[in-house]
Symmetry: C2
């Protein structure tokens, strides 16, 4: 029903162009990205739940709330424009207005987004000049440049797309995103921009995005931090001529494809988490309630002791069980079983002897799965996390220097 | 009204003896501690809220619940006897029974406690043999040996006492404790044993301990982990002949002294946290509700990004504000002010320019205070945390090897 496109990006869907340039906010690397659609898009967004919200996020959130149609997203890295007060808000408005003027759009047709250091004024005049450079570069092959320009401590470009076969024809969904510290549910310094050429009503688009974010971007943790700037935006420009409507077969297929591309994006963020050397899938099953399954997944994904044990390839299942135990979920520890990939390491009533060597071999891989079954019910969920390394500390102790 | 005693310990109060020996659970270091009172004690305890509870903890919790009078606490380090199922529970019962037999006590007069690796059978026969060594060593100067024998990754002995002047005479409160990873509210792999020679009714003793733990041991965080074995025990043997009764002046004085010694114990755990190089006091004020003040304190104390910034002496107040913002507390970020010691680094409406050099100088000290005023109300609280260093990762990646 859908398949991943090699070298897919936010420009894989028809009618989307993008570009990325260096405008001087960072010292050397690309720091300004623009995504543009010739056709007006319906737009959906999910935003940080942090009380402290960056100015550009507040502005973009309002655009989405007001049901405006959108044609462009302008993103800078190197400065979050967060905790910058009234002046920061003015800077963000300028960024939006200048971009609109130069593209002959209304300001409300432009979404804006920033990521980087908190609490410093955004050098917005650099963006003004950068706009003159970036607009002529907009192209259907510019998705990777845009993906590069939104990176902060990310080490890899994060870009994906899928082609989806619907009854009346094919549509495409593509996206770019960035991490890489401060990653936890409810958005982190995590930006995700997804585009599709399907034609989708605004209210439906928001439903699709919300359901998707809940099982992808909201199920990952690098360090349990929720940032001031996090957002995921989904634009639908209808350029394929194919509509997705509610309660149709196509709706389910489109949703599955959107979830698939979002999960790949989310996983790419975790595996490139600050200092991360391993990508770990955490499958929780046998929970009494959905909420219990999530509490356990989140607690394991966030546990410093689990994450350091993973880093050291130490088959310390006791820390996994203890993390589940402190999650607030209701279960009987004696009923729990835990596996690493297909190797059981704990069976109910603590009956299993651990094959340390085999277990440690699995934990030495770059990617593996930890499954925990609570033995209480039938609810389940999946989370993704990475290991906690000395490198994470190094990166974050000196972030601004 | 009270003063700290130099080289004070759990044996500073009249009628308490202690000892610590090596019995073979660890490779070389002391691993068995015994605290003993000639007089029967009323006993109070607070215990982990982790769903996964170690066998010795369950047994001790029952003794406290059943209002039994207590004469001894036997503690081993090197093995937590947690996640060990029915056999582990039997081992814990043996440990309690053997100790009682050799001291001519009822099993319910002995509290037991374990700390160390999770999920491995306790070599209880080593404790049986160790009891023959440790009982003859019980002495009023044995508090430090006991404090040493309960250590796991702790690098320092943690031992304190205060002398308290009450109307009818002096009483003493002394305690030993251990950390040092897995430290977070609601008890962590944190053990605390406090003794007093005041005479205090059981129900009152539990009230005193609960109120004290809430503002001391429950306000510290090393890594946000709550362990399976955490407990704080308070024994009162009445050997001073001085009673503390409810609603008296003495009650308030005693409570203040108990809080003071407990705060010192809690702080000693944080400052010796795994890999910790700094002890940071976090003062939250101006909160709308008590709960809001706690949410903010806890979130800052647990934030990996704040703790790594502290490690790098990086005056990144944005991370502090962001941690407050993700806490769930209700406040307007524009009203917040933040200080390092007495240096304001953020004033309301983000108006202050940061003196980076001075701020970084403060954060380079081994001990300092971060104050955050939410500007919303009058509730306040104090938390303690440490920095997050590469060393924490090293210790925990290889804990069992």
């Amino acid at each position: 029903m859908f398949q991943f496109i090699e070298n897919g990006s936010v420009t894989s869907a028809k009618g989307f162009k993008a570009a990325g340039v260096f405008c001087g906010i960072k010292k050397r690397k690309k720091d300004l990205a623009l995504i543009y659609s010739e056709h007006s898009c319906t737009a959906a967004g999910t935003f940080t739940l942090n009380k402290v919200k960056a100015a550009p996020l507040v502005i973009s959130q309002n655009v989405i709330k007001l049901d405006k149609s959108v044609k462009a997203i302008l993103i800078n890295s190197g400065n979050a424009n967060a905790c910058t007060g009234e002046s920061g808000y003015d800077d963000a408005l300028k960024m939006q207005r200048w971009c609109a003027e130069k593209l002959n759009l209304l300001p409300t047709e432009v979404l804006i987004s920033s990521t980087g250091v908190i609490g410093q004024r955004l050098p917005v005049e650099k963006i003004q000049i950068g706009l003159d450079d970036i607009i002529p570069l907009l192209s259907v092959s510019g998705g990777f440049d845009a993906a590069e320009a939104i990176m902060t401590t990310d080490t890899k470009i994060k870009s994906f797309a899928v082609r989806v076969r619907l009854k009346s024809g094919d549509v495409t969904i593509g996206g770019i995103c960035k991490g890489s510290g401060m990653i936890m549910p409810n958005m982190a310094t995590m930006l995700g921009f997804i585009s599709t050429d399907a034609k989708i009503e605004k209210y439906l688009l928001q439903d699709l995005l919300k359901e998707t974010v809940n099982i992808s971007f909201n199920k990952i943790s690098v360090d349990g931090e929720t940032s001031t700037n996090d957002m995921v935006i989904l634009l639908a420009n209808g350029a394929s001529g194919i509509s997705v409507v509610k309660n149709s077969d196509d709706y389910s297929v489109f949703l599955s494809a959107l979830k698939a591309v979002s999960i790949e994006m989310a996983k790419s963020i975790v595996s490139d988490g600050e200092g991360a050397t391993k990508l770990v899938t955490i499958k929780v099953s046998g929970a009494k309630t959905k909420s219990d399954s999530d509490l356990v997944g989140k607690s394991i994904a966030n546990s410093s002791l689990v994450k350091t044990a993973i880093h050291g390839a130490d088959a310390n299942w006791g820390r996994i069980l203890s993390a589940a135990g402190q999650s607030g979920a209701d279960f009987d520890p004696a009923k729990v079983s835990i596996s690493f990939n297909n190797l059981p390491v704990l069976l109910p009533n603590y009956t299993l002897t651990l094959d340390e060597e085999l277990a440690s071999k699995i934990l030495s891989q770059k990617e593996f799965e930890i499954s925990i079954d609570l033995g209480e019910g039938s609810e389940e969920t999946t989370w993704w996390t990475c290991d906690l390394s000395e490198e994470y500390v190094k990166i974050n102790a000196d972030y601004r220097t």
